[in-house]
């Protein structure tokens, strides 16, 4: 079944940009972006790894400036959609404390052909990691640290 976007932004259907505390589903985002004109949907699923630089990680905690993160994802998503002539794009980021193996972020991009969908999905993730205001804290057996925040 072809899904309808749950959220129509600026008249652009098959898009969704959301921060949520609930577990993420890849299928949900595929349903949002998929249209009958698509030959490809590429998804990226970010998951919690059990180590960082060889050090054991037991959990990750994500914090977001929710309103801004959603607006920033929307800005990135719409730009990427136009650049690669996508039919749909969706980006959803999880917040809260996640265990190893849980999904932290999902991106889905739909297009008539696979190349555009692959490129768009990769580019959207790169840009999300650069500017979307979300922060990650790593929990180890013997401590915790905000990633990339030095004295923090």
């Amino acid at each position: 079944m072809i899904g309808q976007s749950k959220q129509v932004v600026s008249g652009i259907s098959h898009t969704l940009f959301e921060v949520t505390g609930e577990p993420l589903s890849v299928d949900d985002l595929v349903r949002v972006v998929l249209t009958e004109g698509d030959g490809a949907v590429v998804t990226f699923v970010g998951t919690v790894r059990d180590n960082t630089g060889g050090r054991n990680v037991v959990a990750l905690e994500y914090e977001a400036y929710t309103e801004m993160a959603e607006a920033e994802m929307r800005r990135i998503g719409i730009e990427v959609m136009e650049k690669w002539n996508l039919h749909g794009i969706a980006m959803r980021h999880r917040t809260g404390k996640l265990s190893v193996g849980e999904i932290s972020v999902v991106i889905a991009a739909s297009a008539p052909h696979r190349e555009a969908a692959f490129q768009a999905c990769s580019e959207a993730l790169d840009r999300l990691k650069e500017t979307v205001p979300v922060w990650k804290k790593e929990y180890f057996k013997d401590g915790e640290v905000w990633v990339g925040q030095g004295a923090g």
Partner: protein
């Protein structure tokens, strides 16, 4: 606050704004949101300086502080206005 026109000049002595802090900044200052009063002409950078004076734990993080005005990235030199929401952002690490 609505500026009061008086004697051909605009007189506004105090403006109310909201500060938001996240992640390591939030922990260092011990607050996530605060309503503060500033004088007209105050910039985002000056607001941060005032915050650091009140919460010295933020001092080592000054170099890495990003700033957002009403939900969009902004420059430290931005002059603030009544009702603004100013967020100070550590380097992002989502994904």
């Amino acid at each position: 606050m609505v500026p009061l026109p008086c004697c051909g000049r605009i007189i506004v002595s105090i403006m109310k704004i909201t500060i938001k802090l996240f992640a390591s900044f939030r922990e260092a200052a011990g607050l996530s949101e605060a309503a503060v009063e500033i004088t007209p002409g105050t910039t985002a950078a000056e607001l941060w300086q005032g915050l650091v004076e009140k919460h010295p734990g933020l001092a080592p993080m000054s170099r890495s502080a990003g700033m957002a005005l009403n939900g969009r990235y902004t420059q430290p030199t931005t002059v603030l206005a009544e009702g603004d929401v100013v967020a100070f952002l550590p380097p992002v690490s989502g994904g």
